[in-house]
């Protein structure tokens, strides 16, 4: 929200302001969409991500075989016309399993990314907003949380609590908020210094109201870009949990596919096709999120040229 600095002392017409703010917001959204889609990374990331989402949703329609069915082909058969990406040790079709496998990655990655980002916002904004003791306390709490290595904790939790998909989502959400919380706090600090926040404060608005109405809209771009980039990490962590065999091995996911492949020494026994596709899927999913996230970052926080033009 582009609040102008109040120049006069008399209150301005709120209705007029609201409608102007509305048009401005609309213009900004249009400008943003234009910037995002003309950004090469943004476009490539969106197309890539769209494709992954599409194949995951449409898996039942496009998968050539039942992903769970054993012996739809010979065991460990190399790619052929009937099995484009070969079969695994139990004669299951790798391509079909791959198409289904993205569902868990996306579900876990996106859900825990969203939850972690919300948590990071709820914690990061007050950390940057409150000066003095409260701010310091929350910041210290964030810093302390950074000490616990997230993936290590995931492994520990998996050992104690088991590893249903919802457990993994819960754990990843609980553990991935501190780094984005730091970023959000820093951004809040800089927004807080703006005059309009101070003037709203002078008008006697409550802290919660200022944070919600003045600070949050201004840091939303950062929150958004951060959330998307956070999903890159949660997707990779989910895959890693699966790969270690600590995930729900009864469900197909790219991570657990790799777990079974590695367990059967797929590469050294010549079954590279079993190993390549799921890894590729994870990398591609993470890459598409990274592209979208960094394109968002570029469009929403433009750094423009590396050095400004000399003029004025």
């Amino acid at each position: 929200m582009s609040n102008e600095r109040a120049t006069g002392s008399e209150p301005t017409s709120t209705a007029g302001d609201a409608s102007r703010a509305g048009t401005r917001r609309f213009d900004r959204i249009r400008g943003f969409l234009h910037g995002f889609l003309t950004n090469r990374k943004g476009l490539a990331g969106t197309v890539l991500l769209g494709t992954i989402v599409f194949i995951s949703v449409a898996a039942p329609l496009i998968a050539p075989y039942d992903p769970e069915a054993y012996g739809v082909g010979p065991a460990l058969a190399p790619p052929s016309v009937s099995h484009l990406f070969g079969t695994d040790d139990l004669g299951r079709d790798v391509l079909s399993r791959f198409l289904y496998g993205g569902r868990i990655s996306l579900l876990v990655g996106v859900t825990s990314g969203v939850v972690a980002t919300i948590a990071a916002t709820l914690i990061g904004v007050p950390a940057g907003y409150y000066r003095g003791r409260i701010g310091r306390w929350i910041t210290t709490a964030i810093d302390m949380s950074l000490v616990f290595p997230p993936f290590v904790l995931v492994v520990v939790f998996a050992a104690y609590a088991g590893s249903s998909v919802w457990n993994i989502i819960l754990i990843l959400s609980l553990l991935s908020w501190p780094i984005p919380a730091r970023t959000i706090k820093a951004k809040t600090l800089s927004v807080r210094e703006n005059d309009f926040v101070e003037s709203t404060e002078a008008l006697g608005a409550s802290d919660a109201r200022i944070m919600r109405q003045e600070v949050l809209p201004n840091i939303l771009p950062v929150v958004f870009a951060n959330g998307i980039l956070q999903m890159v990490y949660t997707i990779l962590m989910e895959a890693a949990v699966g790969f270690l065999g600590l995930g729900d091995t009864a469900r197909i996911s790219w991570g657990t596919m790799l777990y079974f492949a590695q367990k059967q020494a797929a590469l050294s026994s010549g079954g590279w096709w079993w190993m390549v596709l799921p890894g590729f899927g994870i990398a591609l999913a993470a890459f598409s999120f990274i592209l979208v996230g960094s394109a968002l970052d570029e469009v929403l926080n433009p750094r423009l040229q590396r050095r400004t033009w000399g003029d004025d």
Binding site: Q305, R306, R307, T308, W309, G310, D311, D312
Partner: protein, 337 residues
């Protein structure tokens, strides 16, 4: 406007800097339409003279300064023209071939002294650096030289060991001046030297620049949008519009009888009591698009005197009187504006 500088003792007719037909363009990518930020500018500055360059944002005045000291950003390039400093051509050779001129013969005070200093290096280290690069002072005497420089700008010698964040804004500006005169340059470019400083510090800085110029006899190019400050400080003033120099004259001549409508507008806004005294940017209309400048006079669509001729062909600088040139077909009518 009272002026005390145009008859300053050592201002001579000896030409120090001579710029001929200088064009500097910016280009973002290979097939991008270039922005003609500076387009065919001629300029001369004599030894010991102060030349003021004025114009609104984006008129190319800062780009001109950066072209002279050869510190254009990578997107910028000198396309055409010559820059002679003391008879040496420094515009066309590669930047690496004229590195010895940078700071030793031409130095610059950049707009916004608040970040003129690297935050992780001491102030003294940074003032000393050009002495080392150009080896103008023997190594053992550099520390002493830095203290002398600081003394010239009324700073205590103990700030050499301090970091920039430990200095106040005014101190940083003075230290930036000390750094600029470290190698006793022939030409000092000052880009908005007083912007963002409070009024008292502004006056102090301007006085200091004048005093140092008298002492060291360097030519000075002062770039500003602040016409009042420029006229007070300069022997001659050039007015830039849309990448071109549209009028140049000794400052009191320019003040008394502008011959370009843009200059007249600038002067009028200067004395208009309803405007803040230092703003000249509040002239109606928008400056021309320098990617695709109009074929005729670039000021035509904002000008009250514009005729068909103005949009059809571009006027060139013509002598109005001795040392007074303007580029306007209707220069005779400007006084009636």
């Amino acid at each position: 406007m009272s002026k005390q500088t145009h008859d300053r003792a050592r201002t001579t007719e000896e030409t120090l800097l001579s710029v001929r037909n200088l064009s500097t363009h910016y280009r973002e990518g290979e097939d991008d339409v270039p922005v003609r930020a500076v387009d065919g500018v001629d300029l001369e500055i004599a030894r010991g003279e102060t030349y003021g360059l004025v114009g609104e944002s984006g008129c190319g005045k800062s780009t001109l300064g950066l072209s002279l000291i050869r510190a254009l950003p990578p997107q910028g390039e000198i396309i055409d023209g010559e820059i002679h400093l003391d008879g040496r051509e420094i515009g066309q050779p590669a930047r690496s071939a004229v590195k010895d001129v940078q700071w030793a013969d031409i130095s610059m005070i950049y707009q916004g002294a608040q970040n003129a200093f690297n935050p992780v290096k001491t102030v003294g280290e940074q003032i000393r650096e050009p002495l080392r690069i150009h080896d103008v002072v023997p190594e053992g005497e550099r520390a002493g030289h830095v203290e002398e420089l600081l003394d010239k700008v009324n700073l205590q010698p103990d700030i050499t060991d301090q970091y920039p964040h430990e200095l106040s804004g005014g101190m940083k500006q003075r230290a930036a001046i000390a750094m600029a005169i470290a190698c006793e340059p022939e030409l000092l470019i000052a880009d908005e030297p007083t912007t963002a400083l409070d009024v008292i510090v502004q006056a102090e800085v301007l006085n200091m620049l004048q005093r140092l110029q008298e002492e060291l006899n360097f030519g000075m190019l002062v770039i500003s949008h602040n016409l009042a400050a420029i006229m007070k400080l300069s022997d001659r003033v050039g007015v830039m519009y849309g990448g071109e120099l549209v009028e140049t004259a000794p400052s009191e001549v320019l003040y008394d009888s502008p011959r370009h409508p843009y200059t007249a507008r600038l002067l009028r806004s200067l004395i208009d009591p309803r405007r803040p005294p230092e703003q000249v940017e509040t002239i109606e209309g928008t400056p021309p698009d320098l990617r695709d400048p109009p074929t005729g006079c670039r000021f035509a669509d904002r000008c009250d005197l514009a005729t068909e001729q103005c949009t059809a062909e571009a006027p060139s600088l013509e002598a109005m009187s001795e040392r007074h040139e303007a580029a306007c077909f209707h220069h005779d009518e400007v006084s009636e504006l």
